[in-house]
């Protein structure tokens, strides 16, 4: 029942870096049908690319750029030292970039990062939609 990522990539015929990296990181992971279902679900991952995400921030945060004075509001909280002090117990990509929590406000758009899995998952989803998978 389960397809592993290697199969998925073989079907894609992809040898690009992003896909390769994905396969490496996923080498011990089985791709359960639920995982595929989730990455195709627009409530998890919106297929259209980056631009229209600007408006898609969480309703509560639909405010424009945060003003540092408004300390009581959500928008005022910025990540403290996002790049450093990553010595948490979770020795995973998770703790590497806390600024990701605030991606829409932190300047760096998550989708722009090379090798970013979001871009990859979007590509995978598009491929499947287009019947190429």
């Amino acid at each position: 029942m389960r397809k592993d990522v290697a199969n998925l990539l073989a079907k894609l015929g992809k040898r690009e870096f992003h896909y390769q990296e994905f396969a490496d990181r996923f080498s011990d992971v089985e791709l359960w049908p639920l995982f595929e279902t989730l990455i195709h679900d627009p409530r998890i991952l919106n297929a259209p690319p980056a631009e229209d995400n600007a408006e898609a921030a969480v309703t509560a945060n639909a405010a424009p750029a945060p003003s540092p004075a408004a300390t009581a509001t959500l928008a005022a909280i910025t990540p403290a030292r996002p790049e450093s002090e990553t010595s948490g117990g979770e020795a995973t990509p998770a703790s590497k970039d806390l600024s990701n929590l605030f991606a829409r406000y932190g300047g760096q758009n998550a989708e722009d990062a090379p090798g970013d899995v979001h871009a990859l998952l979007q590509k995978l989803a598009q491929q499947i939609e287009q019947g190429k998978l």
Binding site: L38, I44, N46, T59, I77, L101
Partner: protein, 237 residues
Amino acid sequence: MPLILCHSPKGGAGTSFVAAHLAMALAEAGHGATAIDMTRQDSLKLYFGLKPISEIPDLEAPENQGLTIGGVSLRQGWRATHAPAFADALDNGELPFSGGTFVVADIASDDAALRDQLLPHASLMVVPVSPTALGLAALTQVIPGTPLIDLDYTAFIINRLDETRRFARNAHSFLRELLGGKLIGSIHEDESVNEAAAMAKLLPAHAPASGALADIRTLAKTIAQVCAPPQAEEDAA
């Protein structure tokens, strides 16, 4: 006054557990911490060594009638946060929580209305996720209208992780890839969580070596760092 909402679209994910122990771990790390049970279920107190019959002070009770356990000021906020005056007060920018402490709110999984009311005032929403098929499927429901990976100010925690289970292991890897930095950590499955509540004891007292306790302490450090008010950041620099 960083307000941290603990809320999950799925009941039983451990939201109350996370809220209680996040508050305790923040207090342990030297921060002021208040935990507010905003659920009708009223079970947050069971993680503070209290019995089902014990009452905790109402959110609006005067300060001198407060109750502090494990360094955390504990309040029952279901009544106050569901009174009509609460929404009005929020609209007027009046928050019933003040002072320089962390306020951790336990919000029931089906109480999207309260979550939405409080979100604009929160520094962070912490979403516990159980590494099960139903736990992952519920991720489609976190904030209707916004794709999960576009949610700002939202941090996910895997709770009740048991690496001997294949699906849980795979789900952990999958969520790490999907959520990236928004997955801020994981808490292991640990029976001493249940035992401590059954003994009406605090987890740190009942099982100081608890794996789940160590995990949440690590998470609390991350969360304190993420939610640090701008002044604190400058002071530290």
